[in-house]
């Protein structure tokens, strides 16, 4: 759509600008302020330059948390994206089944995050939870509060349970925008099921999949509440991801300087990955159009 150039449009944007500026710029400045100072009390503070950054970037506990976080986020993406696409392909296109599946699929997304944690905390327990009980019944020794591997898998399954629906709904929106004529043409050409998927359905889902991957990357990279309720980051540090690490540092130990420095690094990593991904995909899309 051709847009008119009109700088008066800024007046329409001003309310948003102010409300986001209050809740974004002022706190961000506070974080920057902390990250370069050593603060004993409001009157006694020293400028320390990049010392906190050096300390944080060299912290081996942080490296561990970062590696755990990266493995976790990659696992989330590799499971949820294909599974989401697969489920979206099985959804009915018309009839009462559409509304019913929409409501049921969206249900986990509307559950408060700590309740999601609580649900799985209960479900996974061997004594009172159906899931944990059945797994132990099958002869597998499963206990998410003792065994690090079990805890990690439980957090991952919980995330799949919680968020795959988002990918399903996104893909479904993309699939529904394909005119029936495309499928008929494919049928006449004798296209295989795979060819229909690769050349008709996947391209239509591309733009929504970008949104999906971005949202899942950001949110799984910031995950806090669900593992906090389920395992508290344990056993040991098995499910301590970056947000948990940061909160422990800032609120638990009150190391404001290092916590602030780490906050900035954390935020920049997310920004950078999202920006690179977004730019690469958008450019690839443009090249395909030409």
């Amino acid at each position: 759509m051709n847009k008119i150039t009109n700088n008066k449009a800024w007046f329409l944007v001003l309310p948003v600008f102010f409300i986001v500026a209050i809740s974004a710029i002022i706190p961000l400045m506070t974080v920057v302020n902390y990250s370069v100072q050593d603060i004993f009390d409001p009157q006694t503070r020293f400028f320390v330059g990049t010392e906190w950054f050096e300390q944080v970037l060299g912290d081996s506990r942080l490296h561990d948390a970062l590696i755990r976080q990266i493995i976790y986020t990659l696992s989330v993406l590799f499971i949820e994206i294909p599974l989401g696409i697969a489920v979206a392909l099985t959804l009915p296109r018309k009839g009462w089944g559409v509304s019913a599946s929409m409501v049921l699929l969206a249900l986990p997304l509307l559950i408060p995050w700590n309740v999601v944690g609580t649900i799985w905390q209960i479900f996974g327990r061997a004594d009172i939870g159906l899931g944990g009980y059945v797994i132990n019944l099958l002869g597998i020794d499963y206990n998410y509060s003792q065994n690090p591997m079990d805890a990690w898998v439980t957090v991952l399954v919980m995330d799949v349970w919680h968020w795959t629906s988002l990918i399903v709904l996104l893909c479904y929106a993309g699939l529904r925008s394909i005119p029936d004529a495309y499928y008929q043409a494919a049928k006449i050409d004798g296209a295989s099921r795979w060819a229909v998927f690769r050349f008709i359905q996947l391209p239509k889902m591309q733009s929504v999949l970008v949104i999906g991957v971005l949202l899942r990357f950001m949110d799984s990279f910031m995950i806090y509440t669900e593992p906090f309720v389920l395992t508290g980051g344990g056993p040991g540090n098995a499910t301590t991801f970056l947000s948990q690490f940061l909160t422990r540092m800032a609120v638990g130990q009150f190391d404001l300087g290092p916590a602030a420095a780490f906050s900035l690094v954390y935020f920049l990593i997310i920004l950078l990955v999202c920006w690179v991904f977004y730019t690469v995909v958008m450019n690839a899309g443009k090249r395909e159009e030409q």
């Binding site: 449009a9 974080v31 609580t118 159906l130 996104l170 990279f221 935020f267």
Partner: protein, 267 residues
């Protein structure tokens, strides 16, 4: 809907989604002795005692009221400021528009854990700590950018000729916006309100940090009860079920637009 083989996969997936929720519900209508006793798929003596505990104890039900209030305030603020801005982004080029849009989105990417302490200090210093408005404003950090993003998608789907015709007919901008444009994007506004509701309703970290007593949300009540009084599994499960109900109700209202809404109106 004809039953096909592919629907088996869908049914299995939905079963996987519903089983943990069912288990929570199942526990909420059992007594604690039954929960800790034998494993039963259905309660032997269904009881509503756990729900009665919550609905009669102000420490519990005030949490629901507090959550409703700040979620409501947040949805209204987000929609009111995002509507004109989304219109500006969808219709005009202006200096710095692309940068502004990306900057707005970066706030959706900011980990709430980063803003925890600064928010606490900011709202304490202006005397807003432990008020509903503080939580509502804090949630604007991610809800306003999201609302602008979704509304912009829906508005770009409305042909510009409609605006031009209205101006030629002598409509002023506010009158055009209120009487013609807003009714046209009703479904978009509904979907946006749904998303603002959703992300404000499910958030725990900021809501918990910015409140202590007067505005304590239900999600915080739940975590604090877990740590304080040992574990009353039945009441905890009932409280969990009650937090799912409002979400289920709003999904029902937007079910026909939900897929398009999740695609941010961009399909």
């Amino acid at each position: 809907m004809h039953f096909q083989k592919r629907h088996i996969g869908l049914l299995l997936y939905i079963l996987f989604l519903l089983l943990p929720i069912y288990w929570l519900f199942n526990m909420s209508i059992k007594t604690n002795t039954e929960i800790l006793g034998a494993m039963t798929l259905f309660p032997d003596n269904p009881t509503l005692a756990n729900y009665a505990t919550i609905l009669t104890d102000p420490a519990w039900y005030s949490g629901y009221i507090n959550s409703m209030i700040y979620v409501g305030i947040n949805v209204i603020i987000s929609l009111v400021v995002a509507l004109p801005a989304a219109y500006a982004f969808s219709r005009f080029n202006f200096t710095g528009d692309k940068h502004l849009f990306f900057w707005l989105l970066t706030n959706r990417m900011a980990p709430p854990a980063v803003f925890l302490l600064p928010f606490f200090q900011l709202y304490s210093s202006v005397g807003l700590f432990d008020t509903h408005i503080a939580v509502a404003l804090a949630h604007c950090l991610f809800n306003v950018p999201l609302a602008v993003w979704i509304l912009e998608g829906f508005m770009s789907g409305i042909p510009k000729e409609i605006d031009e015709t209205a101006y030629i007919d002598g409509y002023s901008f506010p009158r055009f916006f209120a009487t013609i444009f807003i009714p046209l994007i009703r479904s978009g506004i509904g979907v946006t309100a749904f998303f603002c509701f959703m992300f404000s309703w499910v958030e725990l970290l900021l809501a918990r940090t910015l409140t202590s007593v007067d505005a304590k949300p239900i999600v915080a009540t739940m975590t604090r009860t877990v740590s304080a009084s040992g574990l009353d599994w039945g009441v905890l499960a009932a409280a969990g079920v009650l937090t799912i109900v409002p979400g289920a109700l709003v999904i029902w209202f937007v079910r026909n637009y939900i897929a398009k809404g999740f695609a941010m109106g961009r399909v």
